[in-house]
C-alpha cells in the first residue's frame, strides 16, 4: 500500500516537473535570418525563414538551428556558390547552430511588457567550425508574446569560408552583417 502511494506520488511529481519544464521553454518556428554583404562592387543579401529556436526562461539557455540550404539569394549562381564545397558545403553541414546563454538574464522580466537589451554568449557553429561568440540581442515582450532581435557581424575567415581569388573574393565582404528576428 505504501509502495503504491509512493509510486503514485512519484508519477505525479515527475509529470508536474515535466509540465513546468516544458512551460518554461519558448519555441520559435517563425524566424528570419539575413546575411548582408556590401562591397564597392555590389551588395548581396540572403534570407532564411526556416530556422528553429528555443529559449529556456528559467536558465536563459538559447539555441538556434538554421538549415543552410534555406538561404535564398537574388541570383541563382550566388546561391550555388554559397552551397558549394568551396563556400559553406551545405551538403556536409546542412545546419548552422548557436548554443548560448542570455548572460544577464536577471534584466529580463518575461511577464512584463518591454524591450530588454541583453548579451548572448555561446558557441556558433557554421560550416562545421565552432567559435565562441558574444553578441547583443533585444528581447521583446508584448502582451505576453516573446520576440528576439539581434544584429551582429560575422567574419567569414573565422569559419574557414574564404574565396582566395576571382570575382567572389572581390564581390563578397570579408565581414557580413547578420540580422536575426524570432517570434516565440
Amino acid at each position: 500500500m505504501k509502495k503504491t502511494i509512493f509510486t503514485i506520488l512519484a508519477v505525479v511529481a515527475i509529470t508536474l516537473t515535466s509540465i513546468t519544464a516544458s512551460a518554461q521553454k519558448l519555441v520559435s518556428t517563425k524566424t528570419h535570418f539575413k546575411f548582408f554583404s556590401t562591397t564597392p562592387a555590389e551588395d548581396i543579401q540572403a534570407n532564411n525563414y526556416k530556422a528553429v529556436g528555443t529559449i529556456e526562461k528559467s536558465t536563459g539557455d538559447i539555441v538556434f538551428s538554421v538549415p543552410m540550404q534555406s538561404f535564398e539569394f537574388e541570383k541563382a549562381l550566388m546561391q550555388e556558390h554559397f552551397n558549394s564545397k568551396k563556400f559553406l558545403d551545405t551538403k556536409t553541414n546542412p545546419k548552422a547552430k548557436l548554443v548560448g546563454k542570455i548572460a544577464d538574464l536577471s534584466k529580463v522580466d518575461f511577464t512584463k511588457d518591454g524591450s530588454y537589451s541583453v548579451d548572448v554568449t555561446g558557441d556558433l557553429t557554421i560550416n562545421g567550425v565552432t567559435n565562441p561568440v558574444k553578441e547583443k540581442a533585444t528581447i521583446g515582450v508584448t502582451d505576453g508574446k516573446i520576440s528576439l532581435m539581434s544584429k551582429f557581424n560575422l567574419t567569414l575567415n573565422d569559419y574557414k569560408i574564404a574565396f582566395k581569388s576571382g570575382k567572389p573574393s572581390r564581390n563578397i565582404a570579408k565581414t557580413l552583417e547578420v540580422t536575426v528576428e524570432a517570434n516565440y
Binding site: 517563425k30 535564398e72 541563382a76 551545405t90
Partner: protein, 160 residues
Amino acid sequence: MTTKKKIFKIVLIVIGVGVLIGGGVGYYMFNKPARNVQNTETDFSYKASEIVNEYLTDSKKANAKYLAENGESKVLEITGFVAKISEDFNNQKVILLKAEGENAGVSCTFTAETNVNTLNIKMGDQVTIKGVIRSGASFDKDLDMYENVIIEKSDIVSNK
C-alpha cells in the same frame, strides 16, 4: 594584299562572334534564374512518416541521398495529414504534415505564387505537397526537441 585583308576580316568576325557568344553565356550564367521547382520532375514520393523515419534512422545516409552540393536538392512529393497551418516572416504559408503520435513531420513552405492554393486547406486534411528538400528530421539535443524535414518552394499536388 586582298587575301590578307580577307583573312584579317574573317579573323575579326570570328573574334567578334566569339566575344559575343562568350559574353552572352557569361551574362546568362550570372543572371540565370533560380530552378523552378514545380516544373522540375519529382525525384521521390513518400508519406510524411516515411521520409521522417528514413532521416531518424540514418541522417548521414539520407543527406547523401537527398541533398545536392549546389543546393538544388531532390524534389519530393509528400503525402500527409495537415497538423498546422501558419505564415512566416516573408508572408509565405507554412503547412506542417505530421501524423498523430509521430515525433517529427514535414514542414512545407509555399511561395508568393502558390500561397493562394493553400487557402482551402484545413487542419486534418490529407494532402500531397511537392517541393524541394532543404534539410532532414533529427532529434536535436541542444533544442531538446525533434526538428522537422524542411521542404520549400511548395505547391499542393492533390487534396483529398
